[in-house]
Symmetry: C2
Subunit: 336 residues, 2 copies
Amino acid sequence: MRITVLAGGIGGARFTRGLLHHLRTAAPGSEVTVIGNTGDDIRLFGLQICPDLDTVMYSLGDGISVERGWGREDETFTIKEELAAYGVQPGWFGLGDRDTATHLVRSQMLAGGYPLSAVTSALCERWQPGVRLIPMSDDRVETHVIVDGDEPGTRRAIHFQEWWIKHRAALPAHGFVLVGVDVAKPAPGVLEAISDTDLLLLPPSNPVVSIGTILQVAGIRDAVLATTAPVVGVSPIVGGAPVRGMADACLSAIGVETSAAAVARHYGARQPTPGGGDAAGLLDGWLVHAASDAGAVHELTPLGIATRAVPLLMTDLDATAEIAAAAIDLAESVRR
Amino acid sequence: MRITVLAGGIGGARFTRGLLHHLRTAAPGSEVTVIGNTGDDIRLFGLQICPDLDTVMYSLGDGISVERGWGREDETFTIKEELAAYGVQPGWFGLGDRDTATHLVRSQMLAGGYPLSAVTSALCERWQPGVRLIPMSDDRVETHVIVDGDEPGTRRAIHFQEWWIKHRAALPAHGFVLVGVDVAKPAPGVLEAISDTDLLLLPPSNPVVSIGTILQVAGIRDAVLATTAPVVGVSPIVGGAPVRGMADACLSAIGVETSAAAVARHYGARQPTPGGGDAAGLLDGWLVHAASDAGAVHELTPLGIATRAVPLLMTDLDATAEIAAAAIDLAESVRR
């Protein structure tokens, strides 16, 4: 089976790890492609940093800090301290020493003319993540957040990472601007991985600044709409709050309620229904958390989104594999 | 008193540390300028690395590894390990994590258009070395070493650092090539620091690939010849061997015997003597190690190089300060 996953960082990486664990016994020989968000990439200290790609790569390559969920295990932060001692800004970015080696290799390959997709493949030679990891685009797309300016009535845009890390997403966001998205093209293989797949999964990644960003690259959303493969998503919202991260702040910035059902309605149903579901949506199926959100099943099904309630907490690898299994099972039930 | 020092790495840095210690009580208010060798600079992993400048800066700023003599105290080498895990070459360079922050800041400032002299000043804002540290040139000059090629009768050039670190200077060297020296200009302030000084010191740095390199930058040798200040050197050779490092391999590559007297003859006397000393040499005075090289006093004095034998082992700060004091005392005796 060919499976394609649109992934952000921690949520997407953990889900994919469970997916691979499930496939190892349930469908050995399956090929998984992960299309990674690069909207949160940032250039700092001369280093090109791709937090989401690295989180996927490290997670699937057993190099991730299990405790933090990002960055490397056994990480140290001496370079960060040293840069601060030189007075170099910003000080809020968690630049790990081990991680820096990845950034150095990437930055050098990019400087040498390799596209990010080739660089990512090269880095994955070491990590052997067990998936084909492709950045959504080789072109630079950077998520900026519109926040209040210093003067009343004014607004300014700050890099997503500054908003997310420095301000812990606590500055009210009025929206997101994807710098460069107007000219960005999907990386080689991205559109094919969506059109020529047996199953497209939206893991419990941030629906706004991770999956939402990927979908804004020219052609990707249309490819999802057009693929013959079933499209099944896993709710990142459990009981009205993000399982992890601050997706609520992102959702409220675009006027979407923080609930499993609202996120599904935001993605929309692929199949218009007699009952009048959204046209041109993305989802065939949707998983919500059984203990808290079972009510969404009855709300969403009439909209054309086949919804099931199962346990959605990725507490360990087995529990996560169960979620992936449920997503695959749901996909089979909606396959046209 | 204004004192200018032409320095390489460890030897020059330790000597200058002793010099500052001596001046603190003997001549407070003295201004010391160090002109640093940049011929052993190397660009690796996208980082511009200036080993000699950093050794001086860290040594005088109390950040040096006392045990190693180069790099930072409390250093770790995780980035080096990680780069090796990616298969990135070369693996022989001792890239420390703390050190990497310095290289990142320097590389970024250089990429931003600042000349190396301005970058060095900026880095010294943190380290407060107590001297004005100026690179010999803002232009790139790289020492390469001519060694045997793979085929008999052929030769090839390798970067000085590869020869020095990877091969421990054990590959026979047929000479040195300073790539870029034909167009390099002295950095701002270098020539003035030589002409407008009260004393010019050649510390026990490598006479070939440190001081010898500095002297090859256009105008520097002529400025030394022309300065009215006395020029006094400290022998890096004690009892027929380098005190530290592999200067013997460098000396033999240019056909100079590894002895205190031979190095002095290589530098040459500034004042032609009735006895027929070398014309257009550099030295007014020369210190040799009393316990092993006192015989050089009688050999060199007739050549016009005022030579004294004193203890030259920089075993601790006080002993090093004594050497600096002896150099200053000798300079006063030859001042014209």
